[in-house]
Structure formats: structure tokens, C-alpha cells
Amino acid sequence: MSAIIENFPQLVEAFLGTLSLLVLSGLGALAIGIVIAGMRISPAPPLRAFATVYTELLRNTPLTLVLFFCATLLPYLQFFPGYYPLAVLGLTLYTSPFVAEALRSGINGVAVGQAEAARSIGLTFGQTLRIVILPQALRMVVPPLINVLIALTKNTSVAGAFFVFELFAAARRLANARGDAVITILLGVAAFYLLITVPLGLIAGRVEKKVAVLR
């Protein structure tokens, strides 16, 4: 226990590192994901094709490979804004297709009859989207989006392996320094992760239940 208490400030700093990675790359992924999802359902075929290729390519590449690219190959290409921005970039790129897929499945998930009904009472395209489709789609999309964020939280640990200081890096460093208290240290770090993932999971579950009633 002393290993945790002694190094508590360091652990808190690492926790803040994880949190900031989560927030920044979460926002980035949300922005790119919205654009990609928009392209995926757009009427222009080339945009659709691009979005499909982007999604499939990044979704089937291991995160380690993406971050490896950002951390070692981009600097080699004279692109080096620092390891922290590179880590955020990698996590953003990797997470964005999952966001896009979640958004798209939400829009696809609205029953066709809804749109038909809206059109049959004379709503215009804009009204249909605004009043009928999007409110339902957004509500359905919240739980899977939270799941993407939970995944992102855990994925930040991979960024820690590539020169960024966050919880996993702290775990490795402390475990090396205090060989006698490895179990305590790792469990302590795990608790910090659970501090983010478990509440998020509970929120997702609650929202999902609410949505399920509405259907």
C-alpha cells in the first residue's frame, strides 16, 4: 500500500494524462467521425467510397500499428509536433471510424416507416430529418458512442507505451522502481482505469434501458 501512497501525486498526474488524452482524442474522433458518417450516407458515390475505404482500412489496422506509425515514422518524415500531439493524432484517427459506424447505424436504425410517415404527411426533407429522424437516431446512438469512449479510455494505455506519460506508463515505471510491490501498483493503476470505464458503462446501460422502453 505504501507504494501507492508514496507515489500518489505521480499517479494522479498520470490519471490526468489519461483523462486529457481521452477528452482530446474523443473530441477529435467525434469531429472526424461525423464528417465520415456524413460522407458515408451522402448521395455522391465517390464520397461514399472514400468513407468506406477509410473506415475499413483503419478499423482493420491494429491500434499498435497506427500509433507505431505516428510515433516513429511520422517524425522520420520530418513531421514532429511532439509525442503528445502525435499520440492524440493516432488515437483520433483510430477511433474516428468507430464513431462514424456508430452514428451511421443509428441513422440506419430508424425504421423506414418513420420516414415514410413523415413524408406522407407532407414534411419536407429538412423537416423529416430534423423532427423525425435525427431525434430518434441520436438517442439510439448515445450508448454505442459511450462504448466507443470506454474503448478509447482503455486504448490510451497503448499510447502510454509510446512515450506519453499516462497511467500505463506510470504503471510500468513504478513497477520497475518498486519490484517488491508490483501487484499493489498494478491493481492501483487498474482502479484508476475503472474509475473512468465503470461509470461510463453504467451511464451507457441506463441510457440503453431508456431507449429500449421507447421503442
Binding site: 489496422t61 499498435t64 522520420y76 447505424s105 454505442p144 470506454i150 497503448v158 470505464t197
Partner: protein, 301 residues
């Protein structure tokens, strides 16, 4: 596409607009790709002042004539597959055990198992690998296998539980009334059906597992990515990109193949499913809609 129901049949004006968007979009994308390729192909001056040949220069690719290079890459891929295979088999066993414990009649079993499951699901796989490596000193291979089996087993377990709870209660009652014990009912009647409905999710999770083996690179297992990096160090940095491309291509080949299998299975088994989820090929990666499963976490990576 469901979207078509949102619009009127496009008239001349709308059609012209969509053609224009297509053209502008294509030009933008092609220009972006061309810029990327030109930048990659162009010569580059390092900080030290030396000039490096472009990425598509033959001098960056000549080592791939050497069979030895391919043999080590193949070995790396085999190591990746060895870890994925063992972890997948174990994850299925762990998943069955988890769902078994999670649906147990006595709360004395159910509650601890639920807590354990939440714990495994909420933790980064990498941290579990480090734990297994440092605490049990298992060696990198078994550290990777253990962590992957536990993490993915937890998710498969949740999927199976959802599959079981989605079954009509008559199934269980019928089994019991035939004189089967509760355990026999579960194994002979409930599990086979749950497996069948949840097969797409399970296969999708195996894709995730295969991708996650690359995490073992970080704890030092010589899988595909690590092999590529070792080769880079051996042959020099000028080949860094070539090896990266080859490794990426090998990963994509393996994962896309598995994803494709997953898609076929999900189409085959979900033909009777509601239009809400099944309509969409991405359902296998983000299967949040199926029976209220929380397996959207399959999207982890």
C-alpha cells in the same frame, strides 16, 4: 439505402447538383491522394543534410528479393496467429464459464462473477498483459494469451448471457420437465442456441482478438509488428517504410479475411432478424442492438 425514402425522386436540378458534388468530391479526394503519393515519393533531406531517396525508390524495396526476409516475416505472422489461436480457444472456454457463473441460480456465485467480469471488461488488455508478465512471470507468449483470453472471454461471456436470456423461457422449462438437470439443460439446450444467435458477435470479437495480439509487441513478444521492427533495425532505417507497408498489408489481409467470414456468418444467421440492426453490415462490429447486449464494446479496436 434507407436514405432514398427521405428524398423525392431527384429532378434535373437535384441530379445536376449531385453530379456536381460527385465531381468536386472526386477531384478533392484524388488531389489529396496524389499529393500524399507525391510527398511520399519525393526525395527528402534529413536534418543532417543527407538526401534520402523517395519511398517508392527501388533501393528501398530490394531486400524483398531475399527469401530470408519473407521467412522471418512469415515467422512473425505465425507467432501472431499462434497467440491469436490459443487465446481464441481459451476465450471461448472462459466465455462459457463466465456466462455460466453469471446466470447461476445462487447469488453467492452470480455477484462475484459479475464483479470479476466488470473488472476484466473495464481494464486495458495491455495492463493485464503487464500484470501477467510481472506477477506470474509467465513469459511474453503466455502473458499475451492470458490477458487476451480473459478480456475477450469476458465479452464473449456477456454475449452468451444475453443470448441465453433472449431465449423463450419454455426452452429451459421443457428441458427441466424432461428430467434433465439444470446443468444439462444449460449445456444441451440453452448454450447451443445462444451460440448460434451470438455467433456473429463472437466472430467479430475474434477479429478484435487478432488485432489485439499486436499489443504483445509492447511487452516484447516477437509477433508480426515486432518482427518488422527488428528487421528494420537490422537492415537500417531506409527500409522503415517498406517494412511498415508490408506489415500493414499482412495485418489487413488477415483481418479483412476474418471480417469477411464474420459478415457471411452474420448474414446467414440473421436473415430472420429485425430490420433494425441486421440491415447494416457494421452490425457485426457494433452489435449493440442485439438483445440489448453490451457487446458494443467489441468495437474497442
Amino acid at each position: 439505402m434507407t436514405v432514398s425514402v427521405l428524398y423525392d425522386v431527384p429532378g434535373p436540378k437535384a441530379r445536376r447538383r449531385s453530379v456536381m458534388t460527385s465531381i468536386v468530391g472526386t477531384i478533392a479526394i484524388v488531389a489529396g491522394l496524389a499529393w500524399l503519393i507525391a510527398t511520399l515519393a519525393g526525395e527528402r533531406t534529413t536534418v543532417a543534410g543527407a538526401t534520402l531517396p523517395g519511398l517508392f525508390d527501388p533501393s528501398r524495396w530490394d531486400i524483398f528479393n531475399d527469401i530470408v526476409v519473407w521467412r522471418s516475416l512469415g515467422e512473425g505472422a505465425l507467432n501472431t496467429l499462434a497467440m491469436a489461436g490459443a487465446a481464441a480457444a481459451l476465450a471461448l472456454v472462459v466465455g462459457v464459464l463466465f456466462s455460466f457463473g453469471r446466470t447461476a441460480a445462487s447469488p453467492g456465485i452470480r455477484v462475484p462473477v459479475a464483479v470479476l467480469l466488470e473488472f476484466f471488461r473495464g481494464m486495458p488488455v495491455l495492463l493485464m498483459m503487464l500484470f501477467a508478465l510481472l506477477v506470474f512471470s509467465t513469459g511474453t507468449y503466455w502473458a499475451g494469451v492470458t490477458a487476451l483470453a480473459l478480456y475477450n472471454g469476458a465479452i464473449i461471456g456477456e454475449a452468451l448471457r444475453a443470448g441465453i436470456s433472449a431465449l423463450p423461457s419454455g426452452q429451459r422449462e421443457a428441458g427441466l420437465s424432461l428430467g434433465l438437470t439444470p446443468v444439462a439443460t444449460r449445456f444441451l439446450i440453452e448454450f447451443p442456441q445462444a451460440f448460434r444467435t451470438m455467433l456473429p458477435i463472437i466472430v467479430a470479437q475474434l477479429v478484435v482478438l487478432l488485432k489485439d495480439t499486436s499489443l504483445a509487441y509492447i511487452v516484447g513478444y516477437s509477433e508480426l509488428l515486432r518482427t518488422g521492427q527488428n528487421l528494420t533495425q537490422f537492415f537500417g532505417n531506409r527500409y522503415a517504410f517498406s517494412f511498415f507497408f508490408i506489415v500493414l498489408a499482412m495485418y489487413l489481409a488477415m483481418n479483412l479475411l476474418l471480417s469477411w467470414v464474420a459478415r457471411i456468418i452474420s448474414h446467414r444467421t440473421s436473415s430472420r432478424g429485425g430490420a433494425l440492426v441486421a440491415a447494416d453490415a457494421s452490425a457485426e462490429q457494433l452489435p449493440e442492438g442485439v438483445g440489448g447486449v453490451d457487446a458494443g464494446e467489441a468495437s474497442r479496436r
